[in-house]
């Protein structure tokens, strides 16, 4: 009896071993892809888009690489997804999470071929992950009480994060910048308040943190270029023709004179609006929308600096730093809160003129101006700095830190190994495999740096046999060293997220015993 096909034409179905193989291979391929970017000596990737212009991105940020891949393998998509979530949630460790998940699956594959049921492996992995987390929790350092030490912790974390990025040359400079910026936020994780402006030219070292606020806009012609003790009105209103909002209204006239009259009235209306705005007693007006020539001229006449077309985020930030409210109606000048700052001036960065607000009331927001040789460098620098800022802002809230350089992995691996020895049954194989997967991370870091990984990891393992050891791989000198002395720190939150989501993803893929691919949706033929 022929079994009728159940699925649609192009659909496919893979079962049992084959399905498992397909997902293991897909996931490992993705992990191997980003593996070489891990660690301070990781390599970069060039991504060329298929879209128009074939724009090129050079990066070693795991999330960015994976985001731009077109992947068909469903298991690989799971890994891309966890890396994206890691990026959104803690900002860093996007490569580590994928590499760890890949290693977990690689180990699982070996176990499956030696006839251990996936469910047993999952049970073992779960126990191991729990144990690994406890091991980390036991060894965390928390310096929240001691402000000075906390700051130095943050500096070290920032430097550790940055050393794997393009900014590693000037990591101290950038770490200083990032820590300063994050401290200004006073505990909030709202990174929008930190504005990053990229200006090609100069070198990375010329980048700086500005305490004030920089708006990438030009000052209107004929308006003052420098204002002291500025009173700023931040607005979001139409400064072209005010459209009539009453539905169905239209202008219908029967003679040319009438047209002129209406036009006059319109002009009058705009003038009224400008006058109302001026009645606030301001000397700087920033609008989100366009300002037409006519009102601009009126502002110039009144000696008011008018800035048009500041984008929405710019407006929000400006409102935040100057303490003014974003206004859209201007009938009650006395109750609208104006923003204040000591000095507005036009500054030059490279060839571009920018508007600089300094001496602002609220110090929360700040701007970081990045300088660099090319757009690619700047983009990558921005991503790196973003990673550092994310990690720092998360660490401010959860101040627990760990040592870096493969130290946490070795600590976890040791504990997990011990657990494996204590556990009876097949699960212990899975637990052992977990510890091997953990060790793969320091191995990869060493490999990427061109060091003898087998030698180093063995040495590291021996060192870790002693209680309370701080040994990790120092890639710069190429030897095992004391991580505390070298000042290599990582945030606990990042490590925990890496551990948990990698285990979760591996578990999810392991549980699958069948892959059903639906027929791809037919695109409308436009031919």
């Amino acid at each position: 009896m022929p079994i009728d096909k159940i699925f649609k034409d192009d659909a496919s179905e893979e079962k049992g071993e084959r399905a498992r193989m397909a997902s293991f291979i897909g996931a490992m391929a993705v992990a191997d892809l980003v593996k070489s970017t891990l660690g301070p000596k990781g390599m970069d990737k060039i991504l060329q888009s298929t879209g128009r212009g074939h724009s090129v991105t050079v990066t070693n940020d795991g999330a960015t690489i994976l985001k731009s891949l077109h992947i068909d393998n469903p298991a690989a998509k799971v890994l891309v997804d966890i890396s994206k979530v890691q990026d959104d949630e803690v900002g860093d460790g996007t490569t580590s999470v994928v590499v760890l998940a890949g290693e977990l699956l690689r180990e699982a594959e070996k176990l499956v071929t030696s006839k251990i049921h996936p469910m047993t492996i999952i049970a073992g992995y779960r126990m191991a992950a729990e144990c690994a987390r406890d091991a980390l929790l036991k060894r965390v350092i928390d310096n929240k009480e001691n402000a000075e030490k906390f700051r130095s912790d943050l500096m070290k974390i920032a430097m550790t994060t940055l050393c794997s990025k393009i900014l590693s040359q000037d990591k101290e400079h950038f770490a200083e910048m990032a820590v300063d910026a994050v401290f200004r936020l006073k505990g909030s994780t709202n990174l929008e308040a930190i504005q990053i402006i990229k200006k090609p030219g100069g070198s990375l070292r010329d980048s700086f943190l500005d305490e004030g606020f920089i708006l990438d806009k030009k000052i209107g012609i004929g308006q003052p270029k420098r204002i002291e003790n500025a009173k700023i009105l931040v607005a979001n209103t139409a400064m072209d023709t005010d459209k009539v909002k009453i539905y169905g209204a239209r202008v219908r006239v029967d003679s040319m004179t009438k047209v002129a009259e209406i036009e006059g009235a319109e002009k009058e209306k705009m003038k009224d609006k400008v006058n109302k705005i001026l009645a606030h007693g301001i000397n700087c007006f920033v609008n989100r929308q366009l300002i037409y020539n006519f009102p601009e001229e009126l502002f110039a006449d009144a000696g008011v600096l008018a800035i048009e077309h500041a984008d929405f985020e710019g407006i929000e930030r400006l409102g935040l730093v100057t303490g003014g409210e974003i206004a859209s109606t201007f009938d009650n000048p006395e109750s609208v809160k104006l923003g204040h700052c000591k000095l507005i001036e036009e500054i030059m960065i490279g060839e571009d003129k920018l508007i600089h607000f300094s001496g602002v009331e609220m110090g929360q927001a700040c701007s970081i101006v990045l300088r660099g040789a090319s757009h690619h460098v700047l983009d990558e620098a921005e991503r790196s700095l973003h990673d550092a800022l994310c990690v720092l802002s998360q660490t401010v809230n959860d101040s627990r830190v760990l040592l870096g350089g493969g130290w946490p992995e070795m600590v976890m691996a040791k504990e997990v190994d011990e657990l494996a020895r204590k556990t009876a049954g097949k699960k212990s194989h899975a637990i052992e495999a977990f510890s091997r997967a953990l060790v793969a991370i320091p191995t990869t870091i060493a490999d990427n740096a061109g060091l003898d990984s087998a030698e180093l990891v063995a040495q590291l393992r021996a060192e870790h046999h002693n209680e309370g050891c701080n040994a990790g791989i120092d890639v710069i000198s190429g030897a095992v060293g004391d991580m505390e002395e070298r000042g290599i720190y990582e945030a606990f939150k990042v490590k925990q997220a890496v551990l948990l989501s990698a285990t979760e993803a591996a578990e999810m893929i392991l549980r699958v015993d069948e892959i059903i691919t639906c027929a791809p949706r037919r695109r409308e033929d436009r031919m």
Binding site: M1, D81, D88, E89, R250, C390, E504, V512
Partner: protein, 536 residues
Amino acid sequence: MALAFDEFGRPFIILREQDQKTRLRGIDAQKANIAAGKAVARILRSSLGPKGMDKMLQGPDGDVTITNDGATILEQMDVDNQIAKLMVELSRSQDYEIGDGTTGVVVMAGALLEQAERQLDRGIHPIRIAEGYEMASRVAVEHLERISQKFEFDISNYEPLVQTCMTTLSSKIVNRCKRSLAEIAVKAVLAVADLERKDVNLDLIKIEGKVGGNLEDTELIYGILVDKDMSHPQMPKQIEDAHIAILTCPFEPPKPKTKHKVDIDTVEKFETLRKQEQQYFDEMVQKCKDVGATLVICQWGFDDEANHLLMHRNLPAVRWVGGVELELIAIATGGRIVPRFQELTAEKLGKAGMVREKSFGTTKERMLYIEHCANSKAVTIFIRGGNKMMIEETKRSIHDALCVARNLIRNKSIVYGGGAAEIACSLAVDAAADKYPGVEQYAIRAFAEALDSVPMALAENSGLQPIETLSAVKSQQLKVREYPFYGIDCNDVGTNDMREQNVFETLIGKQQQILLATQVVKMILKIDDVISNSEY
């Protein structure tokens, strides 16, 4: 027989263009249908039980779903075969009716079909098989009723409910924290349940998910969570003791439904129009303020000007809130949805003890919590998880758990899980078979055998010897007639007394499974002619 003749000897066509259609008739049709049904059941078989595996489904747009929920798998599978579609429908109706046991029902139907095929080979007429199944299912359902147990719980002692929900959750990927999730589900259901009428409106439980954090951070919020933020970035982020105006009208000048034109032909008219326009906004905001609202939730957007006026008058507002959410907010806060500003009165405002905005992670995602509502009859389960698929799967699992809790509140009877109920039924049906004199006897025995396939699949998936385990359990049950609690020890606990393991299922869920599966199988058996358009 495509051509027939009427009484005057004129030919007429019954089936047009027959050569373009494929047609299967008689026993071939039944065999083909059974094969298709079995194929679907076989896919789901390995997902049954606490150690069941997941399926990875790639949708037509390349999106990936990983699940072991029967209904979801079948829905996403996008099958082409008609009989397979029937099986999909079957699992869906179990999902609608009961919410749980969607995999079990398909496995059961598959087993019934398999047995039917064997009877067909013996030469028993399909209708007789169908009738036999019908009788057997009646016996099984009655027996279930008999072995079911009432179990007692109330608001203060909901532990038994939690145990049942844990049975449901243990087969999902979320079983790592099944305890906490089960508690969340039970608390949510109890919060919205109407214990007197024994009814639960699951619409009042909103399930929201946000990627990030881990599963342990999943929480139950006695209130509403809206995936929106304040309309103006500078509005206060936290409002205590909020009076909420729930509006479905935009903050815009009115738009009469009839077509009209306002003609402006003089300067004066232009001026008055402008004044009026400003007045509109002012009045609208004033109206909200006058009735004492401290928060405006609006289904529509509003203009920049209105936005600023609201901000200026210190009236925080949320815009573009969806219709369903709006309703939930109205229920939770005891407010009324107001379609027009004129109808806004103080009584129609909803009240909430606390409204706050919370941000997540490093991206600028914010959500609005509305808590301590006047009427706490609406709750939200907020799921966190490592990735999108995890959250989707958790949502489905929680939904199943909610359904189970609801069913228990409706009907307090339970039967024991782990295949115990199926084995007990199988024994009862087998015993009853001998009483029927006709050919149906064979069909009834076949039914009993089909019932065995569920515990068999459970044992298989748990890595036990299926036949060995099943026969051991069966003899145990037979030995102690009045003690139908022996099932398959899937979790390797060491006992197969399901009462000790606390593995329950709801009585109506089980009954429904048997009834639905029997119905579909009967339907499939009665088909003796399949006409389908061949490839176009």
